[in-house]
């Protein structure tokens, strides 16, 4: 009985716990749906714009710099927030009836960092993801220039970049992404623009080429200089380059991934990635040969890897003594055929015949030998008194097993016992020198 009571108490405690947490919504804000209840919701945007909609509103910050407090009503109205009726006070939660408390910040960057925290109220998932990013890391290290939400999304002109139905990035957004990143990473942007991917994006808004975020991720942008990133990078390229649907329209082989993994470098890299992702390896990954942001076509007349000197130069980065024959030691993603790498192809072909011939023939011979020996042994046991004298009478080969004949071993054995000879061990041993 006491046990039942214990369970009952436990149940009540658990239920009470669940209830308590459910009626405590302040702790867990709903994600992306509606902003949490706000005490200032009664204050309309018109009320705010009464002042902030007038150009020329400024305040002086701690370092003496001037902060413009003007908000263009049209810009906000055109943004995803404005168009869906979100009010100023839903983000600027600490302001209410005029006069509202004075806004204080040391400098302009502090303003951004201070106000940026409010995004988490609705966009918790993205905010948390961004918290794991290399940008957040840099910020934590005191590099205040590191990107926060509004640096990419803007403060008042936030646009919808994702198709809400498919979850895919909108075509216009894909074009905007590299430019957004370029605000800080301009040198890389310039390289990317010249690459086969970047050119296809800016020239034709090609939906298949990667923008920055397809490789680096969106909010939880990883540090791309780590060993983990390096070891995992072939998979990143493989996501598109091993996808036949995407590749056939450009005539690019999808074997690039499997052939890479099958060769020296790729095998090591893929195993390192699996069993010791922290361990550094000097084995090349895709971008070590093809380039990182400045990836060119393999048959590019100037930079392409099909240009023998370019490939040799790439090899020499790690194999400084390599000469012109060396690059051909790498199968260049080809599957050996009579045209490409015929030597490897014919070695493979040779073993395709050699293995079944040798092992099959050997297996048959062993099986025959074993069964013949077994039959001999059984016959010997069945007819132990068979006289060996009968042997010479039947010399011709027989089609059928000759049951009446004793096997050879037996006759040899019975005769050997009668041998009586002086030890002739000296004689055979003189022959020994003749052995190779």
């Amino acid at each position: 009985m006491t046990r039942h009571l214990t369970f009952a108490y436990l149940g009540i405690i658990i239920l009470a716990g669940i209830f308590f947490f459910q009626v405590n919504p302040a702790a867990s804000a709903p994600l992306e749906q509606e902003s949490p209840p706000n005490p200032n919701l009664s204050i309309s945007d018109e009320y705010c714009l009464g002042c902030h909609g007038q150009p020329g509103q400024t305040t002086t910050l701690g370092d003496g710099s001037i902060l413009d407090l003007y908000v263009d009503p049209a810009v906000h109205a055109a943004s995803i927030h404005g168009s869906q009726g979100y009010a100023c006070v839903q983000c600027h939660t600490d302001v209410g009836e005029y006069p509202h408390p004075a806004f204080e910040a040391a400098d302009r960057r502090s303003v951004t960092l201070q106000l940026n925290a409010v995004c988490e109220r609705c966009h918790t998932t993205q905010f948390q993801l961004a918290h794991d990013s290399v940008h957040a890391q840099a910020l934590a290290e005191g590099k205040t220039a590191a990107a926060v939400c509004t640096d990419c999304h803007s403060a008042h002109a936030v646009q919808d970049w994702v198709d809400q139905e498919t979850g895919e990035t909108l075509p216009e957004a894909r074009l905007a992404i590299p430019e957004t990143c370029a605000q800080c990473h301009n040198a890389i942007y310039q390289e990317y623009q010249g690459s086969v991917h970047g050119a296809a994006l800016s020239d034709e808004n090609n939906p298949d080429v990667p923008t920055c975020i397809d490789c680096h991720g969106v909010h939880n942008i990883e540090d791309p200089t780590t060993t983990q990133f390096r070891l995992a990078s072939p998979q990143l390229c493989g996501d598109c380059h091993a996808d036949p649907q995407r590749m056939t329209q450009y005539g690019i082989s999808t074997d690039v991934m499997s052939t890479y993994v099958a060769d020296f470098h790729g095998t090591t890299v893929s195993i390192f990635e699996k069993i010791s992702p922290d361990q550094e390896t000097n084995k090349p990954v895709c971008y070590d040969c093809h380039g990182v942001h400045n990836i060119k076509r393999a048959d590019d007349p100037e930079k392409g890897l099909q240009v023998q000197e370019n490939l040799l130069a790439t090899c020499q980065k790690c194999h400084p003594d390599a000469e012109e024959n060396f690059p051909a030691a790498w199968l260049s993603h080809y599957i050996p055929s009579p045209e490409k790498y015929p030597l490897v192809y014919y070695v493979n072909l040779f073993y395709k015949f050699f293995i079944p011939t040798v092992l099959g023939g050997m297996g048959i011979l062993v099986a025959l030998d074993a069964s013949r020996n077994l039959i001999n042994w059984r016959r010997k046991n069945q007819k132990p008194q068979e006289p060996p004298a009968e042997e010479p009478a039947t010399n011709q080969p027989l089609e059928e097993p000759a049951v009446e004949n004793a096997p050879t071993e037996e006759s040899a054995e019975t005769q050997a016992i009668q041998e009586e000879l002086p030890p002739a061990a000296d004689e055979p041993s003189t022959e020994e020198t003749a052995n190779d």
């Binding site: 010791s276 060396f326 030691a329 199968l331 790498y341 040798v358 040899a412 041998e419 052995n435």
Partner: protein, 242 residues
Amino acid sequence: MSDKPPATPDPVIRSERIFKRFSLGQRWEHWILFLSSLILLLTGLPQKYRTAGWSQQILSTPERLEFIQAIHHITAIVLIVLALYHLGWAIILMIRRKLSDDILVHIQDIRDFGQMLAYLLFMRKKTPAFGKYNFEQKITYWFVFFGTGIMILSGLILLFPIAITHVLPGSVVPAAKLMHSTEAVVAAIFILIWHFFQVHIKRLNLSMFTGKLNEEDMRTYHALEYERLTGEETDQTGDGNS
């Protein structure tokens, strides 16, 4: 065993001659070959099957991989030295005109093979009479001979790819990789089944330990050699070549 027999034949006591089969040097060669090949196989297989789970348990860190490779390479040097010794010794004997042709393949071996096949298919009652080495032992020897040659050559290409491609085209490297890993497995399976069957299952042949073969085995399995050494007939010959 080879003591002088008593003056009067005793039905219980019998004398048996012992024939020397392998010299001490040859036995050392065999066991060094056996051990080095075994170590090379055991350290090579995890490298060949790098993608398999069991291999990754063994080679779980790059340090372990390096360690295994170091063992592989050191053992390979032992095997190379052995092969050079074997070839060198053969060349010295050849110069002295003392190299036996026992192990060479003759037309007779092909006939022996046919007769053995006939015997195994019950079309013949006796095994053919063999010399010092029968065709099965010659197959073993030459399979190992060429197999070791392929393994050493391809292994050296894999060990020194840059130096090799100074003289040879680059595609010898992937070809060597393919040969090295395929030949190893073929040779291992072949030797394991073929040789193990011949010397352990069919009959227990310990002459690689003792260096000797008793008279009975000599008469039964190497009749021609027995006749050559003793001048006596055995019941294996006579009809064997008919």
